[in-house]
């Protein structure tokens, strides 16, 4: 089965199955991945589901909306391949994708 791996800030890895159509945030929540707070439940309102996508996969995660970009711009620990995981919809093409979690969610 297609899967993705979340890497916590301390290096702990969590590999979870991809469920097409769900968001990256939701599969993290469904599998109890620590380090993603997702306070707003996926409304792109809180900026607490920040992840840093491995360079090789950033294209596959699709376009960043204006709203998400504005939130990301102000997020501490932001990197070039940062995304809000609630705004990344999963597809089987992301099989093997690795995303890192920041030390803190803001």
């Amino acid at each position: 089965m297609a899967n993705i791996t979340f890497v916590e800030h301390d290096g702990t890895e969590h590999t979870v199955d991809i469920e097409e159509g769900k968001s990256l945030m939701q599969v993290a929540m469904d599998n109890g991945v620590p380090g993603i707070d997702a306070d707003c439940g996926g409304e792109c309102a809180c900026g607490t589901c920040h992840v840093i996508v491995d360079d090789r996969w950033i294209k596959a995660t699709g376009a960043v909306s204006e709203e998400e970009q504005q939130m990301l711009d102000m997020t501490p620990e932001k990197e070039v391949t940062s995304r809000l995981s609630c705004s990344v919809n999963l597809s089987s093409e992301m099989d093997g994708m690795v995303v890192r979690l920041p030390e803190f969610q803001m």
């Binding site: 929540m29 469904d30 599998n31 109890g32 620590p34 707070d37 306070d39 707003c40 439940g41 409304e43 309102a45 809180c46 900026g47 607490t48 709203e67 504005q70 939130m71 711009d73 102000m74 997020t75 501490p76 803001m106």
Partner: protein, 404 residues
């Protein structure tokens, strides 16, 4: 025998608590007792996307049932009627009893109901639970005119969601402006304009005295004699924290169950989290009770740590959000007691601005409408205790990113 933690209330706090308990390595059993049939679900979308039909029941679940199974969390639908702190035991309405080693009170709040003639007529609804919204939805096909009682966030969100579905919508507010309890007059003025532009009628200084109709509501009558036709009424006049169980058990309760900075009550085997608690907030240097999802989540993390014998002090900045039409309002901090208001952007004609609340020269809160950057900056300034020049915030020639 294995130890057991019982969580009362299948709430946002409970959902986070189950996850955090396992992350903190709680080895014992976990029993979640809720009085609704569902596992914990997202409540904020109830008045927004769920009411508007843009979100399904399945999408409301905070985590799927498989998550709880995997963590070995059992769920029991029932209503707890007694907590026996001496025997470490809870009793349910149906007579069943469960022993606990640790108890978590995540009971949330319930709606304040109207004690008025006609309040129990058909077509009169509240909005807090899934059942409330499915009740409203069942009435929608036959309804044309909705009256919303209460111009707070729930009332205004509901007005926007119903308007979107083609209803005639009237909002009746008791105070002289909507959102009076939580925002500056300028923000109230903004939301009044937005709703009026969308075709919602807002009437302030309206004290409802009666709901009239034979079996279904037909009109809402105010104390000044005005009447509004309605075949659907939604009441959003605030909530009452569910603290009776804690009070009966002899725990300290005063506008919420009193907890320390680790979310422990005055019984060290009982923690509490979410809308039903009252905590001392170190950022604002006073005790408070918050009605907020982020607060419930943060408190649940501290409570889980406490159950596992750790001390994780609660130090979160209160924040909130509200979606109405195309507008996303993000609120950082608490504006109560502000002495200076600074506005960035044109709230009188545009659909995007930020209102910053200062007290004694320090930023204490910000209401940011379609201004995520200002929101994020405000969070940083307030939680970090940073200083910022109000004139700088007002100056739109300085990009938001460069304000700090």
């Amino acid at each position: 025998m294995s130890r057991r933690c019982i969580i009362i209330g299948a709430s946002h706090a409970a959902a986070q608590l189950t996850a955090s308990l396992r992350q903190e390595d709680w080895q014992g059993g976990v029993l979640l007792i809720g009085d609704e049939p569902s596992l914990p679900y997202h409540r904020p979308p109830l008045s927004k996307a769920f009411l508007a039909g843009d979100k399904t029941l399945e999408e409301l679940a905070i985590r799927p049932s498989a998550f709880y199974e995997k963590l070995d969390v059992s769920f029991c639908q029932g209503r707890v009627v007694e907590i026996d702190r001496v025997e470490h035991r809870v009793t349910l309405e149906d007579g069943s009893v469960f022993d606990y080693d640790k108890l978590a009170l995540c009971m949330g709040a319930r709606v304040r109901t109207l004690a008025l003639p006609g309040a129990d007529l058909g077509g009169v609804h509240y909005l807090r639970n899934i059942a409330d919204v499915t009740g409203i939805q069942a009435d929608l096909p036959q309804a044309k005119a909705a009256v919303i009682i209460g111009g707070g966030y729930i009332g205004l969100e509901t007005a926007a969601s119903l308007k979107k579905q083609g209803m005639d919508v009237v909002v009746l507010e008791m105070a002289d402006r909507v959102l009076q309890r939580v925002t500056a007059p300028e923000v109230s003025e903004f939301y009044t304009r937005i709703h009026e532009e969308a075709g919602v009628d807002i009437h302030t200084n309206k004290l409802v005295s009666e709901l009239a109709g034979s079996d279904k509501v037909r009109k809402v009558v105010c104390s000044d004699g005005t009447e509004y036709f309605a075949d659907l009424v939604v009441v959003g006049v605030g909530v009452i924290p569910n603290t009776e169980l804690a009070e009966q058990a002899g725990l300290k309760v005063d506008n919420g169950i009193w907890v320390d900075d680790g979310c422990v009550t005055d019984d060290r085997d009982i923690v509490a989290a979410g809308d039903c608690t009252n905590h001392f907030n170190s950022l604002f240097q006073r005790r408070m009770r918050l009605e907020s999802v982020p607060n419930a989540n943060e408190q649940a993390k501290c409570a889980a740590a406490a159950i596992c014998g750790q001390h994780k002090p609660y130090q979160s900045l209160p924040w909130f959000w509200s979606d109405q039409y195309d507008l996303k309002l993000q609120i950082a901090g608490l504006s109560e007691g502000y002495d200076e208001l600074v506005i960035r952007g044109d709230y009188q004609t545009e659909r995007s601005f930020a209102a910053f609340y200062f007290k004694e020269g320090r930023l204490i809160a910000a209401d940011c409408v379609n201004r995520p950057q200002e929101f994020m900056i405000s969070k940083r300034i307030i939680s970090g205790g940073l200083t910022i020049d109000p004139d700088r915030l007002m100056d739109e020639s300085i990009p938001a990113k460069e304000l700090l």
